[in-house]
Symmetry: D3
């Protein structure tokens, strides 16, 4: 069976995520398509940004399933709308954060979350608690660079991330690094090299490539989220959003 | 100082929440105003419903602060948009769920969450974990009545809730009952009476009256949420939502 | 309804707590009265001191309820006798520690307990665990000044507390400060100002004013502790203490 | 070295604890002496009872150390005054509850606490949390017989305890039984026999004999509690209690 | 890149695991080879059995890496030797238990472990704790059929497993089923059908197919376990086992 | 009754453990015998080493019970084979790690594990989690000296351990020190003295003497591990190991 994965980047800014980023992940039996949202924020750096990104992310997830996707990935480490999307569709929906954190558990005893902004510390703490992974959470570290500036200078970004990764291992006793922003795609190699140069042989998880292959693994084993926990939303009146699937059927 | 509390009911359905519900809570130094949202779902019974309720809830919170409210309560036990609203305003924003669960900690050793629908079990579990209160979570019980049917027959609703409350105390060893839907406003007395008739002297928390008085207590002590954790969202392009406060200032 | 709160300071030393301290908290519908204990220690700085303070604290709580108090606050951050008092009376009994820690949960993700003596670290850790709040406990910090010296130089006390509060935020990632001694009453403003001057906008909880307003909120919502968990003590022979309420009724 | 253990029964009722109970535990190198308190309750069945038992328990502990005891056991499963006594003396002070729960950890994966009264559920839960043993707490079961009635009919008491012990193993998946009242001394054999007759080969901990031998083990290895955590109380004015050791030295 | 996975069945009994079992998992870019161990037990049903299976499992893992495997799976839900194998090789080593439990976290909020024997309850509890997944552990259920009898009557085995799975969902509130023995390979479909027939739409994880695809995902993303945590064993004298890789190099 | 304890040192190297080490622990009613294993590693410093030490440790445990030992101690702080040995015998089997960690709970609020090698951090973390003691785990510290070099210079070893112990108390807030290698036998006194010289009155646990006396206490109270959790392994074919007790009985 061919796996068709839809990557939904829950922001409106074009040019941040390129299809070139994910094309290398494709194989004979795996293809990846990509979409932005049309309604929402330019980038996600707060709970406010997340909140505005979710309604259209759900819309895109429903559309993707309808067009034949058999797995969906939300391209943001806050996993915005993850639970709501799981209610709205039946194909597996993966958040790169949840996927990376659980995979970190297969690789070591404590992960570090290395990300853009210190202000996300509380948001990440709440995700980790909600995912039941507090026992493996070793470290939160931020480089304090706004998301939309990430792409301007990848070399100095990687250097900053590497510094925090090394500190997370040495001072916080982390043994797996989770890159805390999907915009860091492609930095993992340089960070791992920097760790190795310090004698620290620890894996660095680049969440989007990982989520793509994990989604493929779920598809190939026929698994999806528990619809007992994520049943479809009931039909009801909705104002300001168009979800005919979950709105009352007009009688006539 | 006079406390002015805004109660935001994050649904579009008129008639579910009446100002009569909250007027009795007013005092010489405390007034409560009320608003629905204009964009969102008819009721909240899923993660999907929550997601659609949040953007306009944030809008209403900003408006309320601007109009002079010195505390805001989100009138839903899922606390939708609680963190995002805290970023958007500086006056205290209370979720009735978080408020009730912490207050339960002042009254006993383990609370039962007694609510409408079994499908909310996972959503409540994640809230409890994110709030750091797993150690006090004794029981989840549902009566399986849709939210919009609640008001049709308050007597049989109260009876069903009382049955679950009694079971939560007897079988799950809860010693505080938290009513798990703000639509249950006014049922607490009957449920407590039913518990007492079984020799079970346990408090029953009606979350909205409690949140109103707790918000007043925060206002009177000059406390609000930590802006270190909930700083204002940065200004950035937003499509499909109008938040001039957090959008780029047009140059000219 | 008028709320009448009794503040019991569980030490024998006059002059540490003044009625002036609490008078400003009174309102038309809220009055606060105050009492010391007659049997017990001069101050509370150890488990030993706590143990000796409890019997007369219970006596005072029973007396206060009898005289018409509809809420009781034990004026010590070790919450000595909290559970025993709840057994002995039916009106709500609040410990300022438990109240402050739960309120901290409404304001941020992790609290710092900033107090007098390093030796209280273990006592506080056990309270936090018993209250089910370990997940939110970010930091314990002490200024190492004996309790009875607190009032001698409030300015330098506040400065010392502010230093520890800033360190708790910066180094331990706390985002709410809980003042760990009720003798710090009145220092919160200066500490918060010091935090703000460092760009750290975090709330500082002054436990007694907060407990007074929280007690009022409980009274106004008709809530008290679970008598299922805190039933009255059975009547039995008692030597060396006079509690006719809980001693055998003499037959004649 | 000869171990001299003092067993302090923190109640005023004579005849409940006999020296005969502990004499069989003596050996050539181990002797056990016994004392009641003079001020306090007739039995301990509540937080109130505990509170009244503690001051004289501390007094007895200090006296015992002075008379040469090299270990002290508080003869009540609520471990009343455990921390305060550790501050007051330097020889090891054991609570039978804490000792039994940690020993249960050496014997199986989850213990059941089988005790007299349902009302102790919350008190036990708080002890377990404060001792850091929540992960091993499988079951709380009560037979609902008042403490002072225990000795009247040991056979039917044992039968009731055995019923709860069997239910704790079968229904709550406990694999170690901790007898939850030191007044159950001597029932362990019958309960274990009843368990074995159901094919349930689980150990039954009789806390006082265990605590005696564990105290001896600490003495023989030269270990006592951490005085860093339990330093002596500071000297200060005390009213209503006579502790010259910790009261101001009169100058002259 | 072609993924070559070695499945090591850590028992000596031929005929339990067939290459036919795993052949269907192969793809153009993925092949699976299989080996038994030569020293160890006939089946694994105890800690004793596990202990005897580990040394030769390590031997087989080293051999597999040397022969070019780029991922290794230990074919037993007790994950015997998982950590030791990770020390001995650098390619990813997966335990089907750890892999299934983390994947369950991507599918629902609480998993049930449904396995052969009640006696494994404690062993599974310790694995779950060591993996940091206690917060998601909803249920342990056993059908009490010895491992080597599993294959005799797959239909009645599936029926027994389905009964326990349904009970785990209904009574223990699990929402993901993890099959707790790799010998259950192929039963997942029937169990899921039985759940669906009761209106319970929950995923059923068949651990070996899942581990194969997850291992492939790790290989394709270039991830392996943290060698910081799993460094190679030092060379030292070994008696009774032949591991020239980790034994002293003979000088001559 | 005379207690006969067998100490099994699970390595093949003679001369590391002397009977002189344990002779001083003997008393009129307590004797200690000692054995090495014949198959396994020269020392234990990894999961690999542990795995190879377990099969013959089980053999030695069975032999010891047969020869009349009424308690068994595995002489390694990784507690290798603890669970398997408990299945194989009925007399109590103690791991010095589990015993020391639970005893630490009787002495203070948080223990530090001070050991040889940094690489054991993860192994110890998993043991602590499996033993349900995460709440009391304050600190892991290593001196980075290989096990077989320990005996070469006890003075400088003790000095290095003391440095880490002091740091564990000052920086990590530990209040009990657990020596993390049974090869440290005899260093406890010097480390405690070093701590005291810094004003840090904290106990230092030397695990083997403690385990000997704790084993004696279990024997004297008639307690052993729960055979419900550790039932004997079933009889089955075993290759490469000789355990006639658990192998099929030849028919004839």
């Amino acid at each position: 069976m061919r796996t068709q994965i839809e990557l939904i980047t829950p922001i409106i800014t074009e040019g941040v995520r390129h299809l070139d980023d994910v094309k290398p992940l494709e194989r004979a039996d795996l293809s990846v398509s990509h979409t932005l949202i049309q309604q929402g924020p330019a980038s996600i750096e707060s709970e406010f940004d997340e909140a505005l990104s979710v309604p259209d992310t759900i819309r895109k997830a429903i559309d993707a399933e309808r067009r034949g996707a058999n797995a969906i990935i939300i391209d943001c480490m806050g996993d915005p709308g993850l639970q709501a999307c799981r209610e709205a569709v039946t194909v597996p929906v993966l958040g790169p954060c949840q996927t990376a954190l659980h995979t970190a558990g297969l690789l070591g005893h404590g992960f570090a979350f290395v990300t853009v902004l210190e202000r996300l510390r509380s948001l990440v703490g709440k995700l980790v608690a909600a995912y039941g992974l507090k026992d493996s959470y070793a470290s939160f570290r931020a480089v304090d660079i706004p998301v939309l500036d990430i792409s301007h200078d990848l070399a100095s970004l990687s250097a900053a991330l590497a510094r925090e990764a090394i500190a997370a291992v040495r001072d916080d006793h982390a043994d797996v690094i989770v890159l805390g922003c999907t915009g860091f795609l492609g930095c993992a190699g340089a960070i791992r090299k920097a760790l190795l140069s310090q004698g620290l042989d620890v894996p660095v998880i680049d969440p989007i490539p990982l989520a793509v292959h994990m989604a493929d693994a779920l598809v190939k084993t026929g698994l999806s989220h528990s619809k007992l926990t994520y049943p479809p939303p009931g039909r009801k009146a909705l104002q300001g959003y168009s979800f005919p699937e979950f709105s009352p059927v007009a009688s006539h």
